[in-house]
Symmetry: C2
Subunit: 173 residues, 2 copies
DNA sequence: TAACTCATGTAAAAAGTTACATGATTGG
DNA sequence: CCAATCATGTAACTTTTTACATGAGTTA
């Protein structure tokens, strides 16, 4: 039920509309906990009914702004300090690596090189985000920065692995 | 629809029962494409009905062994060479990092140190798997080795990041 | 013979994706 | 006034998780 907590966390930071949240799921949270628009609005309704969030204001174009309630903050804290998250990891890209032996060597190597290229691209993009942002240094931004750095290191490491793997495949297969 | 292709890939390697597949989803594929027992048996039925796999033998205790058909091999190949996989990544552990500012500094740092510890543990475990395995050097095993190495590098990199992040949090928050 | 492993399934619920549907407001 | 953006929702479907249910063979 992490979507619920992702929304609670974002609302703990600042009251937002479904639309505002959506944009954050598409940008900063895109590589941490992606969510679709339909999911966000659905969860907002559930959270509201459960009393974990409430409408704190309305605006033009039917805009409804939600804020976190005390009950919501309590729920968020429980999740934050609760038993460690499972390291569940799913990657269709890596799944293909498992079955690369079904392809001719060059095709397999080409797949890995393309994978490397995408990761280098991602690495460059995330570094640009980091270097282009105005870091105010408040706790909220520090956490965002840490998560961003995770992505930067991860894409670098993955890109290097893929380069290496392409070489190994050529040599050993 | 990657579960389908994960099963096809495993059956392309060697005919297996649902139980055999399950064990592979719990071990080698656990950190690539985890799947539950109910999902595996359900997908086997669908694949069989679609003619992508077929029963190739039976054994004691109701055991049914499936093998991939030509149609299944074609489907697997299409997936393998098809448009690149999406880099969709979901991590509840990293989501928490985003919201670490909701906790006192020491608690946040403790979370990151624990995260680091878990990754070091995982790193040691995966290295032990690599060093303990008998690598025959055939294409199938080379691919498994590449995926394993991905996990080894990833857990190392993540562990180092978490150590570093804990320091940053103490300094900047 | 009891405990364990092997072996297969189903039902229900939760989570996530895709597609459709609508309308208000703003900027050029 | 036209296009883009803001803004919210729902319906159908697929995927994943959780829980229950059963039984055959193996080993101590």
């Amino acid at each position: 039920m992490s979507l619920r907590h992702a929304i609670l966390g974002l609302l703990a930071e600042t009251p937002s509309s479904g639309y505002d949240l959506m944009k954050r799921f598409e940008t900063s949270l895109a590589h941490v906990w992606p969510a679709k628009q339909s999911q966000v609005y659905g969860e907002l309704a559930k959270l509201s009914e459960a009393g974990l969030i409430e409408v704190t204001g309305t605006g033009a174009r039917n805009r409804r702004e939600y804020g976190i309630t005390d009950a919501g903050r309590a729920e968020l804290k429980e999740w934050m300090t609760g038993p460690g998250a499972d390291g569940a990891y799913r990657s269709a890209a890596l799944l293909r690596v498992f079955f690369l032996w079904t392809l001719p060597r060059e095709e397999g190597a080409a797949y890995l090189k393309e994978f490397a290229r995408r990761n280098q691209e991602r690495h460059a993009f995330l570094e640009a985000v980091r270097d282009g942002a105005q870091w105010r240094g408040d706790p909220v931004q520090v956490c965002e920065w840490l998560a961003l750095e995770f992505g930067i290191r991860g894409s670098k490491s993955t890109g290097e692995w893929a380069e290496w793997a392409a070489e190994q495949l050529t040599e050993h297969m």
